[in-house]
């Protein structure tokens, strides 16, 4: 609990943004739900502090990639729900393409 938390590298920060957008592209969700969904998608392979999500969410919202509003959960708790915007979908598409090209390039080099 009292351990130090080094700031995330740019690469990790970028990938958190990407993962959040990917998670939200399926359905609007609150922060905790997004974290859970990312864990499910990555099958637990991604070790990230759950709290790191929130600066990322703030960043994406400022950028206009997502928007948020208070809503009730099925358990009648008040939660901030995030929704991906059209701009966010476009950004997600571009990022995914970039990742794929990068991965293809690496694969090409490794297989030559």
């Amino acid at each position: 609990m009292a351990s130090r938390h080094p700031p995330e590298s740019d690469a990790l920060r970028g990938s958190i943004d990407l993962l959040v957008l990917k998670a939200l592209s399926l359905a609007p969700m609150h922060g905790w739900g997004i974290g859970l969904r990312i864990q499910q998608i990555s099958r637990g392979r991604l070790e990230v502090n759950q709290g790191s999500l929130y600066p990322a969410l703030q960043r994406l919202e400022h950028r206009g990639d997502i928007e948020s509003a208070w809503q009730s959960t099925e358990n009648n708790r008040r939660a901030r729900y995030y929704t991906i915007t059209r701009q966010g979908r476009k950004a997600l598409g571009e990022e995914v393409d970039k990742w794929k090209r990068f991965a293809d390039t690496i694969a090409l080099i490794l297989e030559s």
């Binding site: 609990m1 009292a2 351990s3 938390h5 700031p7 609150h30 922060g31 905790w32 739900g33 974290g35 859970l36 502090n49 759950q50 709290g51 790191s52 929130y54 600066p55 703030q58 960043r59 919202e61 400022h62 950028r63 206009g64 990639d65 928007e67 948020s68 708790r77 008040r78 939660a79 901030r80 915007t85 059209r86 701009q87 966010g88």
Partner: protein, 309 residues
């Protein structure tokens, strides 16, 4: 559209950092509560579940700081972005940028000048000791509603018979031809200055005290026998270099000799807000001398009286 929403979200977090903090705390609490519930459902005790939820979340303060940094960095980045955008726009159309800069500069400059004048003229407090009790008496043109002057005889009647005022003073502006020897005592040139013919109680009514010398007193009332002049503070400073020996010095006004008796308080420029501010005051009893110039000007302006064809 989403750009607009991004902007509004930015503006919100910028304007209400307290609201941002409250929202952050509520989201963090909700997250921990949900995680705790999930762990309890997996069979942990509520206490242990809460502890593990906190660990999984990572240091609360660490994330709080990250959120605050994000907001601050956003502010700075926005500002830098705005400046960069403005510079780019200026480089694209330098003519327009210069036109705007000049327009703004002239606009602000003119505003400043006008405000300076208005401030000096309209908002200048009347430099009297009891200014709240002061009132002005004018005649009013019933057709145009514009104020006019009061004849001296009316003034005397008002003063003697109205009973409405504790005292009543009078003043009227008059151009004066002044010949004053310089402090060196050598060359002296004639000057056209603005003065005021005032009743002998003028300064008394205003409750003013002289800087040096004396102001007019009741003994200055007699007609034609009071060739005294009171200088304004500014005139004393500029024309006589603040020399205190000006008292009792003789100057020529409209060709007649007048004795300087005193200097009015600093900033006293008569009761006018606009127009010509008097440099000196002479008693109304000397109007035969003081009004000569006006009579001469009237004659010169009328060709018939000069005898020309």
């Amino acid at each position: 559209m989403s750009l607009l929403k991004g902007l509004s979200a930015r503006a919100r977090s910028l304007l209400s950092s307290r609201a941002s903090e409250a929202r952050m705390e509520e989201e963090f609490r909700f997250h921990i509560a949900m995680e705790t519930d999930r762990l309890v459902a997996e069979g942990l005790s509520p206490h242990e579940a809460h502890r593990r939820a906190l660990v999984a979340f990572g240091g609360l303060d660490h994330h709080r700081e990250a959120m605050r940094d994000g907001r601050g960095a956003r502010l700075l980045a926005d500002f830098i972005g705005d400046v960069r955008y403005a510079l780019r726009a200026m480089r694209r159309s330098p003519g327009f940028a210069i036109a705007v800069a000049v327009t703004l500069g002239v606009g602000i400059g003119v505003n400043g000048i006008v405000f300076g004048f208005v401030n000096a003229l309209l908002f200048r407090p009347i430099p009297a000791s009891n200014s709240v009790q002061l009132v002005g008496v004018f005649t009013v043109d019933t057709k145009t509603g514009s104020p006019g002057l009061l004849a001296y005889e009316y003034y005397v009647d008002f003063r003697a018979q109205s009973g409405a005022f504790a005292s009543l003073g009078g003043a009227t502006g008059v151009p004066l031809n002044l010949v004053a020897a310089g402090t060196s005592g050598a060359a002296s040139a004639a000057d056209m200055v603005w003065g005021e013919l005032v009743t002998e109680n003028y300064f008394t009514v205003l409750g003013m005290r002289p800087v040096i010398g004396r102001l007019f007193a009741a003994s200055d009332a007699p007609q034609g026998a009071n060739p005294f002049v009171v200088l304004s503070y500014e005139s004393w400073q500029h024309r006589f270099h603040g020399d205190s020996s000006v008292i009792s010095r003789v100057v020529r006004i409209n060709g007649a000799e007048f004795t300087i008796t005193g200097v009015a308080p600093r900033g006293v420029k008569g009761m006018r807000t606009f127009g010509f501010w008097p440099e000196m005051w002479v008693p109304v009893g000397m109007h035969d001398v003081d009004l000569v110039i006006a009579a001469m000007q009237a004659r010169e302006a009328d060709p018939a009286s000069t005898g020309r064809p």
